[in-house]
């Protein structure tokens, strides 16, 4: 019985072993170091996860908002605006072509259930929730064609929901 130990007549202040004390310092320094890196990169370089706050009526999003005509819209400053609808079980537009090295701003919403928009192998990854608009900006430094997939379960054809994302240099011709 563990209770036996508590009846011990010895009562003295418990100490923390010197090695353990060292480890406590190392562990807390490590954690503070991690946090310092995260906070510094978010404050100094504005590195944040996609955290856009904007609501939209999912019942009318596809008829009465910018999401009525989704597409890829090149902007005067060279950047690109992508307005996208993620719905069971397609991304609209399915193929997105953007110039390499220029910012791409995505605005995505869902008229039905939650979807995930991910450009496979990159950190372009956002949850798309009905009633809300997900917005984030990415820049693709290298040309290439990427698989776009849904990474949140949205129904029995969830694994079929995919698209293409192509970043290419300005010189290349349209396909």
């Amino acid at each position: 019985m563990s209770n036996a130990q508590s009846t011990s007549p010895v009562s003295r202040t418990m100490r923390v072993d010197v090695y353990e004390r060292w480890w406590l310092w190392i562990a807390s320094s490590l954690i503070l170091g991690f946090l310092a890196i995260i906070v510094a990169s978010s404050v100094l370089h504005a590195v944040h996860p996609p955290s856009h706050v904007e609501t939209i009526d999912p019942a009318t999003a596809r008829t009465e908002s910018e999401f009525a005509s989704p597409g890829v819209f090149p902007q005067p400053d060279g950047s690109t605006l992508v307005v996208m609808v993620a719905a069971m079980f397609t991304f609209d537009p399915e193929t997105v072509v953007v110039p390499v090295g220029e910012p791409v701003r995505f605005r995505i919403t869902s008229p039905d259930v939650i979807h995930g928009f991910q450009i496979a192998g990159t950190n372009a990854n956002v949850t798309v929730i009905p009633g809300y608009v997900s917005e984030f900006e990415v820049t693709f430094p290298r040309a290439g064609e990427y698989l776009v997939l849904c990474n949140e379960f949205c129904g029995l054809s969830h694994h079929m929901m995919q698209g293409r994302f192509i970043a290419r240099s300005a010189r290349e011709e349209d396909p």
């Binding site: 563990s2 209770n3 011990s8 995260i38 990169s41 991910q118 192998g121 929730i129 698989l147």
Partner: protein
């Protein structure tokens, strides 16, 4: 003391524990069958009954049965065992049975709802995916049953405290901490299930706000992982040193660890919602800080537990810097399980630090990295500890000798090897962009999918090894329970600490006070962002059942 000893041999108490373990192991067995089918399906290997409907249905069942039923019932049973062996029994066996039957009833209702095909919403059940109301009602009953158990555990602790001024036995200290975390966690779940999902699925309200629901879900979902972990830590701190013939290195730090989990396990949920719209980045950053704080007690645990093992290894005659490791009882299935569980948890800890890393999370969010991560944490650190603990517990609750000792020795090795195959390849394919929760991951032969193909096969093979290990586990438990030779009840001894305990309880035993502080931290972490969410012009969603 003598009355305590008598109570610890009380057979009705044992029946209570056996009933809980039986439900836990049955849920585990069913979940394991589902798991091997899923591992093969993901790699596009055709197995019988393979179809998207069966795949996603069985994935829902696997998640619910493993993460919610197996864990909860095992922890309830283990908690009752700890109460019986440390504080002289549970305060009310009648209420403990009531908790058991309510939780079992809820489990059966939810399981039937899933198997009927009307509730394929996965174990995260994010609305606006809508399950049959029975799914939510059953889940609520499971939790209500566990609340009754939690009440019995708290009452048992308070009853003991009235006649004892000494520190609470460490195993019970950890289990009461787990109960407190469970109450803090499930308060979020109750708001989601009772306040949103049940009324909505019954048609009393037309729409639901998915972001609010996800916020409540992850208020619950992260501390849930510490509800799983703390009983494993109790076994590491309070049983393992005794098994190796050593001493607990520091009783005080163990208590400090349990208190830190009470404080920091709940106000962290937004790190599961980093990619969500509707939540501002500053609150995600606040939750990042608290998430890293929760890393600290696990790092302390790593030191204390390994130091306790070293004490044991040296008392067994080990010398040199590493010589003591060889002297540890590697042939003991409980020790072997826990040692491999701890090894696996170091991988999981590093992975967890990456998941929590605010912006870096976008690289892994909802990729296969995530299931790979939680299969080395809850799926191995916790589950393998529970498996090893079953080999230790069974003779102590049934009075039968452990049967098939060679199988019991091979089982944790198989589990570890299988899980490493499953998880290491899974972490890599996750970084390549392979999503979690997909029936097939070939994406019509796309280039990215070709690249992760052989690693997915590796992960599927790991799934087969894990299934063999599961069969071994059930074989050992079943044979022991039904055919093990009766040797009488084995006495339960918990680890003594290196330093003698003080005569009176200290600050870390004031669990009520720490709980009050934890509630304040939860309010600070959640009140303002939830208020912000509620003041938006929000448009709810009707339900969808695309399954």
């Amino acid at each position: 003391m003598s009355s305590l000893v008598d109570k610890s041999q009380d057979s009705s108490g044992n029946r209570l524990e056996i009933a809980h373990f039986a439900v836990a192991i049955s849920a585990f067995g069913l979940g394991a069958v589902m798991a091997v089918m899923q591992a093969l399906s993901r790699a596009d290997i055709d197995v019988v009954f393979r179809s998207p409907k069966v795949y996603y249905l069985s994935m829902t069942a696997h998640g619910v049965l493993m993460a919610l039923v197996f864990t909860t019932f095992f922890i309830m049973g283990f908690g009752l065992f700890v109460a019986r062996t440390t504080v002289g029994g549970v305060a009310s066996e009648r209420w403990a049975w009531a908790g058991f039957w309510v939780a079992l009833g809820g489990t059966l209702i939810t399981t039937l709802a899933i198997l009927s095909g009307t509730s394929t919403v996965l174990y995260t059940f994010y609305p606006p995916l809508m399950a049959h109301p029975a799914f939510y009602i059953g889940a609520a009953l499971l939790v209500i049953g566990s609340w009754i158990w939690g009440g019995v555990m708290i009452a048992s602790w308070r009853r003991w405290k009235r006649s004892n001024s000494s520190p609470l036995p460490l195993a019970m200290h950890g289990m009461v901490a787990a109960v407190i975390i469970w109450f803090l966690a499930t308060s979020g779940l109750a708001m989601e299930v009772l306040g949103q999902l049940i009324p909505w699925s019954l048609g009393w309200v037309d729409t639901i706000d998915p972001v609010l629901a996800r916020t409540f879900f992850w208020w619950f979902g992260h501390p849930l992982t510490y509800f799983w972990l703390l009983p494993a830590y109790v076994l590491w701190y309070a049983v393992l040193p005794e098994i190796v013939g050593g001493r607990l290195f520091s009783d005080r730090l163990a208590r400090a660890v349990f208190v830190m989990f009470i404080l920091f396990s709940t106000p962290v949920g937004f790190h599961h919602q980093f990619t969500d719209p509707g939540i501002s980045s500053i609150w995600k950053l606040v939750h990042t800080v608290t998430t890293y704080a929760i890393l600290f007690p696990s790092m302390v645990t790593a030191f204390t537990v390994i130091a306790s093992l070293e004490v044991g290894g040296r008392l067994r005659g080990g010398t040199g810097v590493f010589g003591w490791i060889k002297k540890l009882p590697w042939r003991d299935p409980f020790f072997l399980s826990v040692a491999l569980a701890m090894l696996s948890f170091t991988v999981g800890g590093f992975g967890g630090a990456i998941n929590a890393a605010y912006a870096m999370n976008a690289m892994v969010h909802n990729t296969f990295w995530i299931p790979a991560h939680f299969h080395v944490t809850v799926g191995t650190a916790v589950t393998l500890t529970f498996m090893g603990a079953s080999y230790w517990l069974l003779p102590r609750v049934t009075g039968r000798e452990l049967a098939l000792p060679r199988v019991a020795f091979a089982q944790p090795l198989l589990w570890f090897v299988g899980m490493m195959m499953f998880s290491i390849s899974g972490h890599i394919t996750g970084l390549m962009g392979q999503p979690r929760r997909v029936y097939s991951s070939d994406y019509f032969g796309s280039e990215a999918a070709e690249a992760w193909r052989w690693l997915t096969l590796m992960s599927a093979s790991g799934g087969v090894v894990l299934f063999v290990s599961s069969l071994c586990f059930i074989a050992v438990l079943g044979t022991t329970f039904f055919c093990g030779s009766k040797v009488g009840m084995v006495p339960t001894r918990f680890a003594r600490s290196l330093e003698p305990l003080p005569e009176t309880a200290g600050g870390f035993d004031r669990l009520g006070l720490w709980t009050a502080i934890a509630v304040i931290l939860i309010v600070l972490a959640y009140a303002y962002p939830i208020w912000q969410l509620l003041t938006l012009e929000r448009f709810g969603s009707p339900g969808f059942s695309p399954f």
